[in-house]
């Protein structure tokens, strides 16, 4: 299956990864070759086969609805790229 430049731009937005104009064609080629690898799956009859999301078919374990973590805000904010007054700083979002 062939991926075009338009598709790359769409995937780039979905993945939140910018792709420069110079790279688009190269990315399209590589993604196309990976999708070709996937094509061999389509020939297999999987009707009636139950999808498997967990290798041991286990269900998600639930836990009591109680707080178990301690507040470690200061420890975590120390490694943030930009934090002040207990908050993470990002560029202005609302004008």
């Amino acid at each position: 299956m062939s991926i075009g430049n338009e598709d790359v731009n769409k995937i780039s937005r979905l993945a939140a990864i910018s792709v420069s104009e110079d790279e688009v064609s190269q990315v399209a080629d590589k993604l196309s070759s990976i999708l070709d690898l996937f094509a061999q799956m389509q020939a297999v009859d999987t009707d009636g086969v139950e999808p498997m999301s967990h290798p041991l078919d286990q269900v998600q374990r639930l836990r009591e609805d109680v707080v178990t973590e301690t507040n470690q805000r200061e420890k975590f904010q120390k490694i943030a790229p930009s934090a002040e007054g207990g908050m993470y700083l990002v560029p202005q979002v609302i004008e």
């Binding site: 780039s12 990864i17 910018s18 990315v27 297999v44 498997m52 290798p55 420890k75 490694i79 560029p91």
Partner: protein, 484 residues
């Protein structure tokens, strides 16, 4: 000292013939001497190592401590170590000092194992060669022009060169077994959920599995024993009584049924690798095992299914790296979107970006059924093949990889060729089975691994087969001449 088995090391430590400080310093000296050419460590932590070794010696002086107390260990840089840089081989986490310990690290700290450092790896564990690290490629101690395999290539390299006696690794699609095979060491990927994933930076959550990388099967059994067990902090951890991985090491192989999949010896497998593996199977036969043919008909579908499912999970797991709370942030972001897009674009390497994009595409509207759902169905078919095969045998054997270690740069521009390196290992991860690589000979001067695959929770059986094989072979004792 680096030629001692872990049993010998433990005996000398407990009898106080050697101290943990002396043993740890010995490895630190070797790292200082050899790591610049191997690039197998991302971080070396000498102060932490010696401080921990002193504490281990205090325990041992009092007659306390367990089998592994005082034995140093290296951790793959995917495991968080409190206060130590944990980069996962990525520029994205180049500045990340973990604020807590992974459960595996916590467990090994608790038994008193000094931490030598963090080993190099493919970025976010995505790769089969350890070339995609932000810190540059790791070299194979058997040939510095060759890759050590990936993604746990750093851990394999440090064991093979004697720069650590034990190391942790992780295996998402073969990342313990393939580097173990390429470097001539022993590595075991346990049953999915047997070793906690808490504090292990996630790539593909339904595949990622931590495990030991060591010289011998007996060493692996001891390290796995210390690493494994239920962890309430990991929702994927198996809620079961801890298994005894050491109990059956000395069992005879008489009557053991060894399955050889006919599909594992077809086109694409190097002739010399095939010969080495067949000779290893013959050794097992001579030890009393019965060899039976089994079939894994959907083996070839495992690679495409994996490369849909793992990137899909990666696209979700790696969405947390956005430049806001930790990790790399781009310079002067113009707005929030620019912050996300540029931080991720500049922080991730080529293969990671490629897999995130493939995953995002496979999960996108209109393609979910064709790719993701289809791959999940194929996953069950691959798993069912194994279940059927294990009706005829106790253990499945075959090659770990189609070739021996390839040269650095040989496959880095061809992702498909790189993905096919994991042809024999990926089916095991789809099924969540335990499997290991055991040194089984050489082809063109490079190590070859024997792949042992077991049914769920049969790690003790795999370790038994590997240990018995190592009682009559010496491949696991070989070291590259320069590092002896």
């Amino acid at each position: 000292m680096h030629r001692l088995s872990i049993r010998q090391m433990s005996e000398k430590l407990h009898s106080r013939e050697i101290t943990s400080v002396a043993l740890t310093q010995h490895y630190l000296d070797r790292i200082e001497k050899y790591d610049s050419e191997l690039n197998a460590y991302i971080s070396v932590t000498p102060e932490l190592a010696i401080e921990m070794a002193k504490k281990a010696d205090e325990m041992l002086d009092k007659g306390e401590g367990s089998f592994l107390t005082g034995v140093p260990v290296a951790h793959k840089d995917i495991f968080c170590v409190d206060g130590v840089k944990t980069s996962c081989g990525s520029k994205m986490l180049h500045n990340f000092v973990a604020p807590y310990d992974a459960t595996v690290v916590e467990k090994l700290k608790a038994v008193g194992m000094p931490i030598l450092g963090k080993t190099n790896m493919d970025e976010f564990a995505m790769g089969s060669s350890s070339e995609s690290s932000y810190y540059g490629p790791t070299k194979n101690p058997w040939n510095l022009n060759a890759v050590p395999g990936g993604s746990s290539g750093g851990s394999a390299s440090v064991i093979a060169a004697g720069l650590a006696p034990l190391a942790t690794g992780t295996d998402t699609g073969g990342s313990i077994r393939q580097p173990a095979s390429f470097c001539g060491i022993t590595g075991i990927k346990p049953t999915y959920g047997a070793v906690s994933r808490y504090g292990m930076i996630a790539y593909a959550s339904s595949f990622d599995q931590g495990g030991p990388m060591t010289r011998s099967a007996e060493d692996a059994a001891w390290l796995l024993d210390a690493m494994a067990g239920f962890d309430k902090k990991d929702s994927t951890s198996l809620e079961q009584e801890k298994l005894n991985y050491l109990a059956h090491l000395d069992d005879s192989l008489q009557g053991l049924k060894v399955g050889v999949p006919k599909e594992y010896f077809g086109e694409g497998l190097s002739g010399s690798v095939s010969s080495a593996v067949k000779e290893a199977v013959e050794v097992l036969r001579q030890q009393g095992a019965e060899i039976v043919e089994v079939s894994l008909p959907n083996k070839d579908l495992a690679v495409p299914a994996y490369y849909v499912l793992a990137p899909a999970e990666a696209s979700s797991n790696l969405s947390r790296f956005d430049g806001v709370r930790y990790g790399y942030r781009c310079e002067n972001p113009q707005d929030l979107s620019d912050l996300y897009m540029r931080s991720r674009s500049e922080g991730f390497g080529t293969e990671v970006k490629r897999r995130i994009m493939v995953g995002a595409y496979a999960l996108s509207e209109g393609y979910y059924d064709a790719y993701y759902l289809k791959a999940q169905k194929l996953r069950r078919m691959v798993r069912d093949d194994f279940v059927k095969a294990f009706e005829k045998c106790d253990v499945i054997v075959g090659p770990v990889a189609p070739t021996t270690a390839f040269n650095i740069g040989e496959k880095s521009d061809d992702p498909i060729s790189m993905y096919l390196e994991d042809l024999y290992t990926i089916p095991v991860n789809l099924a969540g089975l335990p499997a290991m690589s055991v040194p089984a000979g050489f082809a063109e001067g490079m190590p070859v691994g024997l792949h042992l695959i077991g049914t769920y929770h049969s790690e003790a059986k795999l370790l038994n087969v590997a240990h018995q094989f190592q009682q009559v072979t010496s491949w696991h004792e070989q070291m590259p001449e320069v590092y002896q």
